[in-house]
Subunit: 117 residues, 2 copies
């Protein structure tokens, strides 16, 4: 039964609705800047910048932060268009939307990722 549902999810005629991601052309500069303005979120972006990361393996700087804090940060980053959050096997995979970000705001993510602190 579990495998049956997974097969259905990969079938175009039965798409299971997944999390919303804004289209690349709709990214808003101030939303991007706000999403990056929190130290914990910036840390998540740095972790994902070098390659896609399993969401369960992505850790906040503060190990005592509740799970809801992590979900909230993921949501802000996804809704701003910074992270893609997709189902992968039984988990979820986080990746940086660097191509979309670069096209819309050239040089911005490079400058942010290169910055110290």
């Amino acid at each position: 039964m579990f495998n049956y549902i997974r097969t259905m999810a990969e079938n175009d005629s039965f798409p299971i609705p997944d999390l919303y991601h804004p289209p690349g052309e709709d990214l808003v500069l101030t939303d991007i800047l706000f999403a990056l303005s929190d130290p914990a979120r910036l840390e998540i972006v740095r972790q994902v910048a070098s390659g896609a990361v399993d969401m369960a393996q992505c850790h906040l700087q503060n190990p005592d932060a509740p799970k809801s804090t992590k979900s909230h940060h993921m949501k802000v980053l996804r809704e701003a268009g910074i992270l893609r959050n997709e189902p992968a096997g039984r988990g979820r995979l986080l990746s940086l939307r660097l191509e979309d970000l670069d096209r819309r705001f050239p040089g911005l993510m490079q400058a942010v990722l290169a910055a110290q602190s």
Copy 2:
């Protein structure tokens, strides 16, 4: 009497304390990003980017915003280290701390200022 006081203010032995500006080496990336993440503050930065502006001539996008909103935005931008806000004659002059910002976060302000919307 008015001129006497102005003369005193320009005398090093009688410094009149002015607004706080963080030193260039203390600028914090997330504070900068937060300060730039508000559309009204970003608009102020764009106005000042092409040259110093008399604070009284610096207008918010929303003409109905109360004066306190403008002062608050100026404070956030100054405390983050983005704007210098200095007395000039009877008014105050706002300028972008581009050199300090560039030294600390190379390419960041260029990317933000070049971005559309």
